[in-house]
Structures are given as structure tokens and as C-alpha cells.
């Protein structure tokens, strides 16, 4: 008679073994931890020069200015900018490593610009941008003078004259805009030649070897894996290249879409070549990327925008997720509960990242993940422009608009772009709300994995006592989630121990942005190329039958839009109006 453990072993032969070095769930953890430890060794001993002094002096200035004036003064911004410029990844070896993690660059008319820019063309681009830079510098100087004059006038009145304060705030806002424009113009005027090809080859070899180590321990054929890997890497590079085109990028059509599209085009026409197939390892790449993603799930950030932000994200989002899932199961009667939960999660939480985590947690099929992310990306491209248009038509308050956009538009980049179409305040609120929602991914993935282990796939006949539940969870739980959670807890503790400023410099702008984040993006690209190379249109078409997944997304998103708007209004305008006032004053 077979036991529950035997049955699970039959269902998940690749991910539930006895050894800690025999299965990809564990190798996802080992490889990701290796990268994170390497990051700590490289970045933590090399802080930027005088980091502590710059942070202490800057914070002292900001506190003094905050006590002096009810607005962000020029001195406050200068101090804040000095702290913001500190990044551990700009130091020594970290900077060199960053050069090898570069993805194909943004390009407009000439596709070659994505990979290569000759010295002559760089000089020509610099020369062409010189006049624009000069003009931007003049505007910046003029805006700075105007801001200084307006601030001085407000200061003379002891910052008690509301009209003068508003004028100073507006003038300082204009100076910030001019400063940003000058920074972009300066970048264009200092265009340097580059050739990404050698770096990409080194990166391909490095990532190939990294995954080959695990492959060797798992008993795969390493030579066959390494022969196929360059093809997968090449398609991933192509997907970054397409996503880098300025207009495609502006529409938020990210690399994930192109990785799947190119992969499926190949697999559904000439077929994925046999020599490539050993490197088509969806789960291996995606789980390693997810453990790295865990390190960025920093719980310290949840309270950043206060209780209103917690309600708009951690209260509304789970309600929308559960209601949408229920709607899909009970009303639409979607055949696959896994497809239902993946779409519900990507729509309610944070698009592609939530879809990846949820799909891995419940072991959804590759076609289910493909369909969910495709729907999410396409609707996001519409919402980037539709939601700001609605905000303008309704003349909505910018804090309310930001909270609404942050809570409803799927992808973070799209949220920021939509917010920027309204105002800096709307963008800041939208970006912060979305960041807090991003951090929910850990809890959602854990919850979905536990629900699937104890309810959806529970061994028949097993009563759900505490002991049985724990046993079911241990047997069925995707083990890589443990690495995901450990990474999140460890990095949250480290960030908390260092404090927000030092933690940002050393952890977020060091270990994570300097190494882990770049590799994670490549791993996800490899995973989505693999999904495309392994998926077929027929299975995808079957899932789309009756249009139910699209109906689910539209109905869920409609509910999300209504509930998020109501909660944002309630929290930011009825319960905590002072939060809105402070945000507007910033």
C-alpha cells in the first residue's frame, strides 16, 4: 500500500528527494545563497568613503530644516541628495561586477545602439547634446536662483505666510524638475562608447557554469546542458533587446512578453532543437530567481507610508485576491484552480512577479503562467494611460490618484510611469504603495503554498489535525520557498540593524542592486525563454476557452479599482487626512 509520501513522490519526482543536493528546489536555494553570500563578501567590507559622516551630517541638516520650515527647503534637498548618491555598488570590485551584469541598453532608431556604440558615434552624440546641456544648465541656475529667492522670502516671514510658503514650495519643485532635466542632458552630453558583447559572453559563461554545478550534482549531463545553454541565453538577450526599444519600453511591454513570444515562435514552428532541450529548465531558473527575489522582500518597508498604506495594500489586496479566486471557482467555474489563483494574484498583487511566485508555490503549468503574465502585461499597457486619463477627467486629488494607481496597476514600472503623468506627488505615493504591495509577494506565496498543500492537494483520507497539516505541508510544500523566506527574514533583519540609510547604501544599493538583482533578472529571462521553448499554442488556446481567464481578470480588476479607490479615500481623506497634508507639503 502506497503512503502519502510515496504518492507525493510520484506527483513531484523532481522536487521531492531525500538529499539536499539531489533536487532543483534545494539547488535553487544553494545557488541563490551562494550569490547572496558572495554579494555580502564583496560589498559589506567596502562602504563608500565617509559614509557614516555624510549620513549623520545629512540627517542632522534635514532634521534642522524640517524643524525650521514646514516645507522641504533647498538645504534639506541638498542633504537628502548627498545621502541618496551613496551606493556601495559604485565602489571598487562592485563597480567592475556591475559592468558585467549589464543588459542590452535602451535604443531608439538604431538597433545596434543596444549593444555597441563606437567612439566616433559617441563623440557625435555628445557634441549634438552639448547645446541642450548648456541650455539645461542655464535653466537650472535660473531655477535655483528663483527657488532661493522664494525660500528667503518665506523665511523672512518666519514661514508663517501660507502664500509665500506655497510660492517657495512651487519654486523649489521647479528647481527639482530643472535639476533632473540637467542631469539627463549632462548624461547625453557625456555619452561614452561601449561594447556590451564581451561582457555578455562572460556573463553567459558565468551563469552557465553556476547552473552547471547544480546540474552535475543532480546527475544531469553537464556537457549537454552547457551546449544548449548559449541558445537560451541568446534568446533572453534578444528579449531584453526588444524590450529596450524606447516606445516598446514606454508602453511597459517588458522582456517577459518577448521571451515567451520568441520561445513559442521557435517551438511552434521548427520546434525546439534537441541540442537546446537540456538547457530548457524552467523550474531551475525560476526558483533560483525567486530565492534571490526573497532577499528584496524587506518587511521594514511596510510601514513607510503609515497606516493608510497598510490598509490600501495589506487589507484591500488579500480581499481582492480571495474574492477574485472565489469568483473564478464558483461563478466562472474555471477548469484549473491553479490558473485561477495565478491570475487572481497577478491582478491583485503585483503582476508578473506575483504570478511567478504564486505559480511556483502551487506548481501551476507553464501555459497557465504564460497566459496569466500575458494578460497582465497587455492590460497593464492599457492601464498606464487609461488610469491617468480617468484621474485627469475626474480631477482627482493627487494623493488619492497615487494610492489608487499604486494599488491597482500591476507592474511597478507602469505604476511609476502612470503616476509621473499626473504629478510628482502622485508618482511618489503610487510608487510607495506599489513597493509595499511588492513586499506582499512573500506572504502570498507562502499562503498559496500552504493552502495548496493542506487543502487543494491534501492526501485523500487524511484528517486535517495540526500534526497532519504540518506533515502535509512539509511533504508537499515547495522547498525553495523556505530559501525565499529565509532570505527575506535575514535581509530584513540586516536592513533593520543597519538603519534605513546605511541599509539602503550597503544592502539595497550594494549586495542586492550590485549583484543579486541583476542576476535575478537574467534568471527570470532564462525561465521565460524556457517556458516559450516548451509551451505550445494548442494548450494555451485550450486554457483560453470561452475567454474565462480574461473575464476573470477584468471582473477582478474592476472590483480592485472600486475597493482600492474607496479604501484610499477613506484612509487618506477621512481617517488620516494629516497624512495627505504631509504628503502634499513634501
Amino acid at each position: 500500500m502506497s503512503t502519502a509520501a510515496d504518492k507525493i513522490e510520484e506527483e513531484y519526482p523532481k522536487t521531492h528527494g531525500t538529499g539536499l543536493f539531489g533536487h532543483e528546489d534545494y539547488w535553487a536555494i544553494w545557488l541563490a545563497f551562494l550569490i547572496l553570500i558572495a554579494g555580502m563578501v564583496i560589498f559589506l567590507p567596502n562602504p563608500p568613503k565617509e559614509m557614516d559622516k555624510i549620513i549623520d551630517d545629512g540627517n542632522a541638516t534635514m532634521q534642522a530644516e524640517a524643524a525650521r520650515a514646514p516645507l522641504r527647503t533647498l538645504a534639506w534637498h541638498d542633504a537628502n541628495d548627498k545621502i541618496a548618491r551613496l551606493r556601495a555598488r559604485d565602489e571598487g570590485l562592485g563597480k567592475t561586477i556591475g559592468g558585467y551584469l549589464e543588459r542590452p541598453k535602451r535604443w531608439s532608431d538604431n538597433p545596434a545602439d543596444s549593444f555597441f556604440l563606437s567612439k566616433e558615434r559617441a563623440e557625435a552624440a555628445s557634441a549634438a547634446a552639448k547645446a541642450r546641456h548648456e541650455s539645461a544648465r542655464e535653466k537650472l541656475a535660473s531655477a535655483h536662483t528663483a527657488a532661493r529667492t522664494a525660500e528667503a522670502a518665506a523665511a523672512t516671514a518666519g514661514f508663517k505666510d501660507t502664500a509665500l510658503n506655497d510660492q517657495a514650495r512651487a519654486a523649489i519643485g521647479e528647481w527639482r524638475k530643472a535639476r533632473e532635466a540637467e542631469s539627463r542632458a549632462r548624461g547625453a552630453a557625456n555619452t561614452r562608447s561601449y561594447n556590451l558583447v564581451p561582457g555578455l559572453i562572460v556573463l553567459m559563461i558565468g551563469i552557465g557554469i553556476l547552473f552547471a554545478i547544480g546540474a552535475a550534482f543532480m546527475g544531469w549531463s553537464v556537457p549537454r546542458f552547457l551546449i544548449g545553454f548559449p541558445f537560451v541565453f541568446l534568446v533572453a538577450t534578444l528579449s531584453f533587446f526588444i524590450a529596450g526599444q524606447t516606445q516598446i519600453r514606454a508602453w511597459g511591454l517588458e522582456y517577459v512578453l518577448w521571451a515567451i513570444a520568441i520561445g513559442m515562435l521557435i517551438s511552434n514552428t521548427i520546434g525546439t532543437p534537441k541540442w537546446v532541450q537540456p538547457a530548457v529548465q524552467i523550474e531551475y531558473y525560476i526558483k533560483t530567481g525567486l530565492v534571490l527575489l526573497g532577499a528584496t522582500i524587506l518587511f521594514n518597508k511596510i510601514v513607510l507610508i503609515g497606516i493608510p498604506g497598510v490598509f490600501v495594500t495589506w487589507v484591500v489586496t488579500p480581499i481582492v485576491l480571495v474574492v477574485t479566486y472565489w469568483f473564478g471557482q464558483r461563478i466562472l467555474k474555471i477548469e484549473s484552480a491553479k490558473l485561477n489563483i495565478v491570475i487572481s494574484a497577478d491582478m491583485s498583487v503585483s503582476g508578473v512577479s506575483a504570478a511567478i511566485a504564486t505559480a511556483a508555490a502551487c506548481r501551476a503549468k507553464k501555459e497557465e503562467l504564460t497566459l496569466a503574465v500575458t494578460i497582465s502585461i497587455l492590460f497593464t499597457a492599457i492601464m498606464i494611460f487609461a488610469i491617468p486619463a480617468a484621474v485627469k477627467a475626474l480631477d482627482m486629488h493627487h494623493v488619492l490618484a497615487g494610492a489608487w494607481m499604486g494599488g491597482t496597476i500591476d507592474a511597478t514600472g507602469a505604476v511609476v510611469a502612470a503616476g509621473a503623468l499626473i504629478s510628482p506627488t502622485a508618482m511618489y505615493v503610487a510608487a510607495t504603495i506599489k513597493m509595499i504591495q511588492n513586499i506582499m509577494i512573500g506572504a502570498i506565496a507562502f499562503g498559496v503554498a500552504a493552502y495548496w498543500a493542506t487543502v487543494m492537494e491534501r492526501t485523500p483520507g487524511v484528517k486535517l489535525t495540526v500534526g497532519a497539516a504540518l506533515r502535509e505541508i512539509w511533504l508537499r510544500f515547495p522547498k525553495f520557498i523556505i530559501g525565499f523566506i529565509v532570505a527575506s527574514i535575514v535581509f530584513s533583519i540586516m536592513l533593520g540593524a543597519m538603519g534605513p540609510d546605511k541599509g539602503r547604501v550597503m544592502i539595497e544599493q550594494g549586495v542586492l542592486a550590485g549583484l543579486a538583482d541583476g542576476l535575478r533578472t537574467w534568471f527570470f529571462a532564462l525561465a521565460f525563454v524556457s517556458i516559450g521553448l516548451a509551451a505550445n499554442f494548442r494548450d494555451l488556446g485550450h486554457l483560453l476557452k470561452g475567454g474565462k481567464p480574461v473575464i476573470l481578470y477584468v471582473c477582478g480588476q474592476t472590483f480592485n479599482l472600486a475597493l482600492t479607490l474607496f479604501m484610499a479615500w477613506l484612509m487618506f481623506f477621512v481617517v488620516f487626512p494629516w497624512v495627505t497634508e504631509r504628503l502634499m507639503a513634501s
Binding site: N80, A84, I248, V256, P388, V416
Partner: protein
């Protein structure tokens, strides 16, 4: 080696399949270089698309760590002193 998910195209070949690949690639190229740029000409869209291009925001990035503006937002919101700890101090 553990097999990947079911793979298509094993043993396939022939002119028709290669032709399908070429046609698919051409259609993808038309989408990328003709259809998507044409979307910018939709009424009312050009200024919005251009504003996003000019701002250099990574509109396609799906996670917060990949969007530079999030760092700026974090600094501004933290500076507003509205986090829960700040709220407690205020009370």
C-alpha cells in the same frame, strides 16, 4: 538529465515549418517596428508616451528594485514623517 516540460517540435523539420518561422518573425517585426510606434499616433497618446520616454522611467520593469524612481519616492515619503513610528511620535 531530468527532462524539461513536454517539448514541441521533436523530429520536425521541412520547408513549411521554416517558412512559418520566417512569417512569424516578420509579423513580430511588423508589430515591433510598425504597429507599436503607430500606437503613439492614437489621439491624445503622443504627449503621454513622449513624457514617459523623456522621463526615462523603466515602465516595463515589474519589480520595485528595478525602478530608479522608487528610491526617490522612498526618500520623499520617509522625509514626510508619516510612517507608523513617526505617527506614534506625532501622537
Amino acid at each position: 538529465m531530468a527532462p524539461a516540460a513536454r517539448l514541441q517540435g521533436e523530429g520536425r523539420g521541412g520547408l513549411v515549418r521554416w517558412l512559418a518561422l520566417v512569417v512569424g518573425a516578420v509579423l513580430l517585426g511588423l508589430l515591433l517596428f510598425v504597429a507599436i510606434p503607430a500606437l503613439q499616433r492614437l489621439p491624445g497618446h503622443a504627449p503621454a508616451v513622449q513624457a514617459i520616454i523623456d522621463s526615462e522611467i523603466e515602465a516595463g520593469a515589474f519589480f520595485y528594485t528595478d525602478v530608479q524612481k522608487v528610491r526617490e519616492a522612498e526618500a520623499v515619503v520617509r522625509g514626510a514623517g508619516i510612517g507608523i513610528a513617526a505617527a506614534e511620535r506625532r501622537d
